[in-house]
């Protein structure tokens, strides 16, 4: 079902910079349904985030009412997002728009949430994100943030390379070389980075000895990014233009060869097999009762 959407990213026709600009320019327009989808996601996010806590029940009030502090105004309110995330939040509507457009135009996939909120170091003027999710067993996600307004001679583009559950690497191209701007690792993972003259290699390892390696280098005028996961014994290779746009096949012919070892990603049958219970989920939500019977026995507070 919908397998036609599951196209290896190298075979997809990516948005050209002009198309991306147009999508972003139209982000505030209601003319395009895909953009309306993006706007709806943004509105839904805002609406849900504005929900206020209910009045505490008497049982809860017993907890809340007991203060050992002399200053009752010392309630701690956590910021919902860090500074970088907040910056990304401001771009969210446009990102949703570009994501929706990418899905509609290229057969890419919509991605919402944290993964879509790419934090771009030095990329406050970044204007869009194209999400390219390679299919298949490999879960690596490649996201490209473009900054067409940026100083082209200095920094041409930012690349947030997410490697499964290990973490992510922020890359950019500067002075003819790929440079790593930041590396973040998820809980349980550590990252070691080595940077050559023209390439970047980041090795993520966890306590179990699993390893995910992100390698990026320039090949001709293209940036070649390889993410290798020893758990899957698989690697994903992608090419991007130095300005952050996903490379087209024509670009590859001109700029570099492509070692396409990711044929398995042409289908996400593995996704479907994992979620066979939702094969009919294009239907209405009337099947709530069925779904609710699956897995409530693992309440973490009932351990």
């Amino acid at each position: 079902m919908n397998d036609q959407d599951d196209v290896y990213q190298g075979d997809m026709e990516p948005l050209t910079p002009d198309e991306l600009d147009a999508a972003l320019a139209e982000a505030t327009s209601a003319a395009d349904p895909e953009h309306v989808t993006a706007r709806f996601l943004h509105e839904a996010s805002q609406t849900l985030r504005s929900v206020q806590p209910p009045t505490p029940s008497p049982a809860l009030s017993e907890f809340i009412g007991v203060s050992t502090s002399t200053d009752t105004d010392m309630v701690i309110v956590l910021p919902r997002h860090s500074a970088v995330e907040a910056s990304a939040q401001q771009r969210k509507p446009k990102m949703f728009a570009s994501l929706a457009t990418a899905a509609a135009t290229t057969g890419g996939k919509l991605l919402v949430g944290a993964a879509a909120l790419v934090s771009v170091a030095g990329g406050a003027h970044a204007t869009g994100v194209v999400d390219l999710v390679p299919d298949g067993d490999n879960e690596q996600t490649v996201q490209v943030a473009t900054q067409p307004d940026g100083p082209a001679d200095e920094v041409l583009g930012d690349f947030r390379i997410a490697a499964g559950q290990a973490g992510s690497v922020l890359l950019y191209v500067e002075d003819g070389a790929v440079v790593s701007a930041a590396v973040s690792s998820e809980d349980g993972w550590s990252a070691e980075q080595s940077e050559g003259d023209e390439d970047v290699k980041v090795v993520f390892t966890n306590e179990d000895g699993d390893e995910v390696v992100v390698m990026a280098r320039l090949e001709g005028e293209l940036v070649r990014v390889e993410v290798a996961d020893d758990q899957d014994d698989d690697s994903e290779i992608s090419f991007f233009e130095a300005n952050g746009s996903p490379a087209t096949i024509a670009d590859m012919d001109n700029g570099s060869s492509r070692s396409d070892d990711s044929d398995s990603s042409s289908s996400d049958s593995s996704d479907d097999s994992d979620s066979s219970d939702d094969d009919s989920d294009d239907d209405s939500s009337d099947d709530d009762s069925d779904s609710d019977d699956d897995d409530s026995d693992d309440d973490p507070d009932d351990d």
């Binding site: 839904a44 609406t47 985030r49 919402v112 809980d187 994992d274 209405s284 897995d295 409530s296």
Partner: protein, 184 residues
């Protein structure tokens, strides 16, 4: 994820609550109850306030059994919420239907703002309700919390690949619906 600047605040909040300080509990409630409530509403809870209060109460009662950072706490508390929602749904299907006369009196909406808020929320819910509950909870968790696929997978107790598939299909369904609305 690398600790953010809010981690020390979270640690302080948690320590305070574990020490039995009401300020700590109040802080936890103010920071998370609204988000739980939003999740409960979006997931279609019959009584989201009860689910929210129940979730927070369970979390408070079991706070000493929790260990981890803020991200782990979010996963933990949303897992509790989800399980409470499932239990509530089961209870709901077994409960006899009350007549209007028997129904408990609901708090009266206090202001026009609340009506407007509900109108906007209803519009969002109308579209979200077209999704299956599995699709909806995945998308809502990502929308509300910006959770990663792996975090959502942990909360909904499904493989990450299944979560990705649910997300994709949910978004496709939303897009189809919006296209259909545009055409009509």
């Amino acid at each position: 994820m690398a600790p953010t600047q809010k981690q020390p605040l979270f640690d302080e909040m948690l320590r305070s609550a574990r020490d039995g300080d009401g300020v700590g509990f109040d802080s936890l409630y103010r920071n998370y109850a609204g988000r739980i409530q939003a999740f409960a509403i979006a997931r279609g809870a019959a009584d989201p306030e009860v689910v929210t209060n129940d979730t927070m109460l369970r979390a408070f009662q079991n706070l000493n059994r929790f260990s981890g950072d803020e991200a782990a706490f979010v996963r933990w508390i949303f897992t509790i919420a989800r399980n409470r929602l499932i239990d509530a749904h089961r209870s709901e299907t077994r409960r006899p239907v009350l007549s209007d006369d028997d129904a408990p009196e609901q708090p009266v909406a206090s202001a026009e703002d609340e009506a407007l808020e509900h109108m906007s929320r209803d519009a969002v819910m109308d579209r979200l309700s077209l999704l299956t509950v599995e699709q909806r909870e995945v998308i809502v968790l990502r929308l509300i919390e910006d959770l990663s696929i792996s975090d959502v997978a942990e909360i909904v107790n499904r493989p990450a690949t299944a979560v990705k598939a649910l997300q994709r299909r949910g978004l496709q369904a939303l897009q189809r619906q919006i296209l259909a609305e545009e055409v009509s």
